[in-house]
């Protein structure tokens, strides 16, 4: 390509709608990031070890708990596996901020910020990579749980994996925002710990919140992730008309939109 060709091309770019440019930049970034990830595929597997351990070493204990009063409808697997999927959605995505800190250090973030590429596209491509990986992991985990004895309708499982995908968008965006803001692994690690433990305990992932005393249940109502977990459990019971499924889906979608909005604002700040 000669330089003249290139300037001709620049002029055609000007006529391109901004949404198309944004999506193209997202796809370029997605392919680039995916290729880098697939060079070290071991990480995709390592993230799955934790939920698999829960499935093998924790879930069997739930059979007896499922008989206690206050346990929600559905058998132990139908209650626990959706929670495990949501947990994967949270913990599988919230550490991506470490990756952006490494990229800041390499200088690749700054290099891409001097190109005309859309900031939103650069962010979205990364979030898409994380979400695709997460969806594969969630699907695998569901299939393995079926092998363990889970009974779930395909549609219910599909909806739940979709909810997990929305959570992935939310949490990887927020993690990128935190990474861009803090720019240091030493600051990001304690922040993630501080946020993740209360989110986990107040979500009903490990044990359903119906077992909790009233004050704890009310506190959990404030945690959007607890609604997402309730929604996922309704989907797993194939209770598709249940109001908690709608609330869960809306909560997950709002988290995704809010996460992306916060992250893109952080990405657009000059000092990011």
């Amino acid at each position: 390509m000669t330089e003249l060709d290139y300037y001709h091309y620049l002029r055609t770019l000007d006529a391109e709608p901004i949404e198309i440019a944004m999506f193209r930049d997202a796809m370029i970034t997605f392919r680039y990031q995916m290729r880098l990830l697939l060079r070290e595929p071991i990480w995709i597997v390592i993230v799955m070890v934790q939920p698999l351990l829960y499935l093998a070493l924790y879930a069997p204990m739930l059979d007896s708990i499922a008989r206690t009063p206050g346990f929600p409808p559905g058998d132990a697997w139908q209650v626990f596996v959706p929670g495990l999927l949501i947990q994967l959605g949270i913990f599988g995505s919230m550490f991506v901020g470490f990756g952006i800190i490494a990229e800041i250090r390499y200088g690749t973030v700054e290099r891409m910020r001097v190109t005309p590429a859309s900031r939103f596209g650069l962010l979205l491509g990364r979030v898409m990579r994380d979400t695709v990986v997460l969806l594969i992991q969630a699907t695998l985990l569901t299939l393995i749980a079926v092998a363990f004895g889970l009974r779930v309708s395909p549609l219910g499982a599909l909806i739940t994996v979709g909810i997990v995908g929305l959570l992935g968008v939310a949490l990887s965006s927020l993690s990128y925002a935190a990474g861009l803001w803090l720019k240091s692994e030493d600051a990001l690690a304690p922040l993630l710990n501080m946020v993740s433990v209360p989110v986990l305990l107040l979500s009903g992932i490990l044990l359903p919140m119906t077992l909790a005393p009233p004050w704890l249940r009310h506190l959990a109502q404030l945690n959007p992730f607890s609604h997402v977990v309730d929604g996922a459990r309704a989907a797993f019971r194939n209770d598709l008309g249940d109001g908690s499924l709608v609330i869960g889906l809306v909560a997950a979608a709002l988290l995704a939109v809010a996460g992306l909005a916060i992250a893109v604002r952080t990405f657009q700040r000059e000092s990011a």
Binding site: L13, L36, G107, T108, R111, M112, V114
Partner: protein
């Protein structure tokens, strides 16, 4: 005119105090020029360049870069600018061509065109066989040339190089300079580089802007700047600095005397012929001279004269 800046300034707030990194710089760079911003670390060179590259918003002033207004059309600036930062910007786990092709795609080039262009640039920058290599296996010089290739993928009319040869050994540096000169000679591109190496500014730049404490203190071709310190510099090493100074200050041949480490430095018209008589005069007065050194002015001397400190000692001197 490729760059025109008026009153460009940038302040940083840190822990309650305000730091004026750049204090109102005026700048004009013509198409086809290689212009160097020369100054010690912390002088404001990189901040100036980052403002002109749309990475930092100026606190005051305005600029037109490659025909686009810096504030109103940053995307226009980005399209025409190739920016190579001081630390470079490559992922060590990526392959050379992955970085090159992705970079060009972000400028709107098709994958096929980007691939062709990557091959061309690798050939030009001595990276021909390295397209499939993982970046962490490259040498420092190869990685620096890759940084430059990344900045050139979209054939920019204007190129910013921030400290292009920092951290490279002398041989690699000389080789890189050849590439930078070729860049301009081949494509007629305009280059704005920052450096704190006098040799680099001297070897590469058509014009130098000397920048100190956030302001441009002098500008001109390397030869013009050196001419501002006319004459040669003769350094006498002696312990009797005060007596020697009194004697030399009164001497007819001496135009200027400054105290330096372990002695005095005097400015004379012709060092080769005037140094020895001066030394004899000192000797006759009973002042022991340990060593004698004659130097023609360097850019460091220009800097010393303009700012009262040496460029080599860094900002703390």
């Amino acid at each position: 005119m490729m760059i025109e800046a008026r009153g460009l300034a940038r302040t940083f707030k840190s822990r309650g105090s305000v730091v004026e990194a750049v204090r109102g710089i005026d700048l004009a760079v013509d198409a086809g020029e290689i212009v160097g911003l020369l100054g010690p670390n912390g002088a404001g060179k990189t901040t100036t360049q980052r403002m002109l590259a749309t990475l930092l918003v100026p606190t005051a002033g305005e600029a037109t870069v490659a025909g686009c207004d810096l504030r109103r059309d940053p995307i226009g600036v980005r399209r025409q600018l190739g920016y190579v930062s001081q630390s470079g910007g490559t992922n060590p786990a990526a392959k050379v061509d992955e970085e090159l092709v992705t970079q060009a795609q972000l400028y709107g080039m098709s994958r096929a065109a980007a691939s062709t262009r990557a091959g061309e640039l690798r050939a030009v920058l001595d990276l021909a066989e390295l397209g499939d290599r993982v970046i962490k296996t490259l040498s420092g010089g190869q990685r620096r040339r890759l940084d430059i290739a990344l900045g050139l993928m979209h054939a920019p009319r204007l190129i910013f190089l921030d400290e292009p040869s920092t951290g490279l050994d002398p041989q690699t540096r000389a080789n890189l300079w050849t590439h930078i000169r070729d860049l301009r000679d081949r494509s007629g591109g305009t280059i704005l580089l920052t450096t704190h190496y006098l040799e680099e500014a001297d070897a590469l730049c058509d014009r130098i802007l000397i920048i100190d404490a956030g302001a441009i203190v002098a500008s001109g071709t390397p030869a013009e700047l050196k001419r501002r310190i006319s004459g040669d510099l003769v350094t006498f090493e002696t312990d009797a600095v005060e007596r020697a100074r009194a004697l030399l200050c009164d001497h007819a041949d001496v135009r200027d005397v400054t105290t330096v480490e372990r002695g005095l430095r005097v400015t004379v018209d012709r060092g080769e012929t005037q140094a020895v008589p001066l030394m004899r005069a000192l000797d006759d007065a009973g002042i022991k001279v340990g060593a004698l050194h004659i130097a023609h002015p360097s850019l460091d001397d220009v800097f010393l004269t303009l700012t009262g400190r040496s460029l080599r000692d860094g900002p703390a001197a």
